[in-house]
Symmetry: C2
Subunit: 267 residues, 2 copies
Amino acid sequence: MQPIDLRQAMAQSYPGASLGRVLLVGSGPGDPELLTVKALKALQTADVVLFDTLVAKPILDLISPLAERMHVGKKGYGDTRPQDEINARMVALALAGRFVVRLKSGDPLIFGRAGEEIDACRAAGVPVEVVPGITSAQGAAARLCVSLTHRHEARRLQYITGHDTTGGLPQCIDWKAVADPQATTVVYMPRRTIGALAAQALAAGLDPSTPAIVVINATRPNERMVATTVAALVASVAASETPDPTLVLIGQAMARAVLPVVAADVA
Amino acid sequence: MQPIDLRQAMAQSYPGASLGRVLLVGSGPGDPELLTVKALKALQTADVVLFDTLVAKPILDLISPLAERMHVGKKGYGDTRPQDEINARMVALALAGRFVVRLKSGDPLIFGRAGEEIDACRAAGVPVEVVPGITSAQGAAARLCVSLTHRHEARRLQYITGHDTTGGLPQCIDWKAVADPQATTVVYMPRRTIGALAAQALAAGLDPSTPAIVVINATRPNERMVATTVAALVASVAASETPDPTLVLIGQAMARAVLPVVAADVA
């Protein structure tokens, strides 16, 4: 056995840190054990960590006490702080020679707006790298113990977002692709637009009885899940009103999901 | 700071292990630092680990010396050991009271045939859970420092597989969905069928100049990447003949990828 010695590895892991650079790090869906080893090392060696509102509290507790923490406020729905301001601050810190960790919920490269932050770093000549994270769809599927690509039921897995940067349903969604009975579709940030989204998918031919699962706070202690159908989806999302991170998983393969038993159900 | 103490956590993490159960664990694309903390704990507390050929050697080195190791031979392309035999062995070990870790490359729930293994456990009354892993597409995108969902360029991210369990191009792929200029498409296990796949996507209207990146051994020391176009994809895949794990990323957003400099290029 060669167990990873975190203390030793930390000392070696980022020898170039003193040069000033940005590391975009995915924190995963919320369970701190779903951090990658690489992400954990980054949190424990950063000079400064810029984090979004959606990053789970137990993950923030893993940040080095020597690191400066900056809450930059993004919630996913309608940013409370403009993206340009985050980019400028991140770049300025790196240009001042600091090792900047930009910590995001899920995977920075999947609906995390990392593209804009990478562009800002490149434009400023700041070295930038990415540590991927478990995306919420994967965390939810693991909790549901269901394959996202079950043989004979899901030939294709697709992720779409329920809103664009204006907060409305994105333009250019291929609704026929969403209506495909051989696909599993995961809708990120569905809350504001789930009614319009379901209507478009049904109009494009999706079977209204297709299984759908609403997942709130995937992998967190306050996780909640509701199994429903596309036809009943709008009511299910409305009934579970919350500002917390929400996903919807849609597809025939989701009929095999087993919802975790929660304490409230047992009592 | 509350650093995770792996030794202490290991002792506490799976108190029910003596009851016999199966944990399907994703090992990620190959870099051992892309293991989740939860996966690492599982490798260090398992009684027995059943692993596929594609799991990277440095990850196998993290398995507890007290655990029995069983190579079950699956390579992704044409299994060398039938799935039914793997299921039977896994279930028999759990029924004998052992904590069985079933270790797979990537994420078990994304083209990992976990669905069949979950079904086998449920049929036998064996408790089964899943630890998700970074899937190869995420590892490759991180190495390329490119968003899979870049704003204005990719409204949808989709994963498809280049072959079904017979080794041929899967039936029921929605080619219009693959041809969507607003999507990023990742093809897993493309080698045998990339010609037929590209031809179908082009026939469905995909622009032949759409950027495509071939990634072999994503995140491993022997990683190789080739940037090309859909029109030239077949030649690029054929030129990089290898039995190693291969992916193809397709979409306008991939034009922003920066291929890592490899030692051979510098020399």
